[in-house]
């Protein structure tokens, strides 16, 4: 049997058989009723969706911050290994203690 020819003929038959576009009576009313029912049944759906969206964006931002933090450990280490930074930080309390007390008021 010639399968190619069989396929061509079957496809030709299917192409010639256009499906009907007949609409059942009052179908639009059914759709509108279902729509109204859905809106009535779930009045909080928009709020829920908004909360979910907010939660997802918050989570995404948190993940992004963690990822950035993990991806740049060198920056933290560089600061920790910077002797001048700690020298300034170590001297800061001493410098504050040298200032006269009345300057604070």
């Amino acid at each position: 049997m010639d399968i190619d020819r069989l396929q061509t003929e079957l496809l030709r038959a299917a192409r010639a058989d256009r499906p009907s576009d007949r609409v059942p009576l009052a179908f639009e009313r059914r759709v509108m009723a279902r729509l109204a029912e859905r809106i009535r049944r779930d009045p909080w759906s928009e709020w829920t969706a908004a909360f979910w969206r907010a939660a997802m964006s918050g989570g995404a931002v948190a993940l992004l911050a963690v990822a950035i933090n993990l991806a740049t450990p060198g920056a933290v280490n560089d600061l920790a290994e910077d002797p001048e930074l700690f020298a300034v930080a170590d001297n800061a309390p001493a410098a504050a203690a040298d200032e006269p007390a009345q300057d604070l008021w």
Partner: protein
């Protein structure tokens, strides 16, 4: 524009003192964009205009993928419900019909994926007419077009056995005569993917036909 025309028609009617039904020429049907804007502004009842306008088209499309009438109605209803919930995402730069048809194709594809049934049938499911048609085709391929009904039911059974992507692409490409580019736009697949799936779909269909023929004649 339509508002000003209908107002003028009202004025004419009141000056004569005789109520006149508004002429369709003076009060043309609102465009899709106007109706969508009204629905988005809160007039949900106006969505019925879009339902009435596009339901025949959607029924024609859905009947290509589902055979039972209740399934067809469920598909069309689902398309309209999805369209309503995503109405805000329609940009008026493309026709509303294209946007709706994209949604229809996606819904039909979801339906096919969730109803992957009757794929393990053999030729014993073929009716006498269908078997006769196959036999006639085997003996004289040129005379295959005589019993068109048998050919149609036979092809429906073959399409039922195809995988969902194969059935979708065969329907769009071979039965609806759409271009590869159009199919890519409707399905969201890339053009090369449509071509690959079309190639595989034809091969899958041939395999099913070969299997049918071998079961019957070997």
């Amino acid at each position: 524009m339509s508002r000003s025309l209908s107002t003028r028609s009202d004025e004419l009617a009141s000056s004569d003192g005789v109520p006149v039904a508004p002429s369709p020429l003076l009060n043309p049907a609102p465009s899709d964009a106007e109706v969508v804007a009204e629905v988005l502004a809160g007039d949900i009842a106006r969505f019925e205009v879009l339902v009435c306008r596009y339901q025949p088209r959607l029924f024609g499309t859905a009947r290509r993928y589902a055979r039972r009438e209740d399934e067809v109605q469920d598909i069309v209803q689902e398309i309209f419900l999805k369209a309503f919930s995503k109405l805000g995402s329609w940009r008026a730069d493309a026709p509303f019909e294209h946007w709706l048809m994209r949604m229809a194709v996606h819904t039909c594809y979801d339906f096919l994926r969730s109803h992957q049934r009757n794929r393990e049938h053999n030729t014993t499911d073929l009716s006498d007419d269908e078997s006769d048609w196959l036999e006639r085709h085997a003996s004289a391929p040129a005379s295959g077009g005589h019993d068109a009904d048998a050919a149609r039911t036979l092809v429906a059974k073959v399409l039922d056995k195809l995988s969902p992507p194969a059935r979708l692409v065969i329907t769009l490409l071979e039965l609806e005569d759409r271009s590869v580019k159009e199919i890519a736009a409707l399905t969201g697949w890339s053009v090369p993917l449509v071509k690959v799936r079309a190639f595989r779909a034809r091969a899958e269909m041939k395999k099913i036909l070969r299997h049918m023929a071998s079961e019957k004649y070997l």
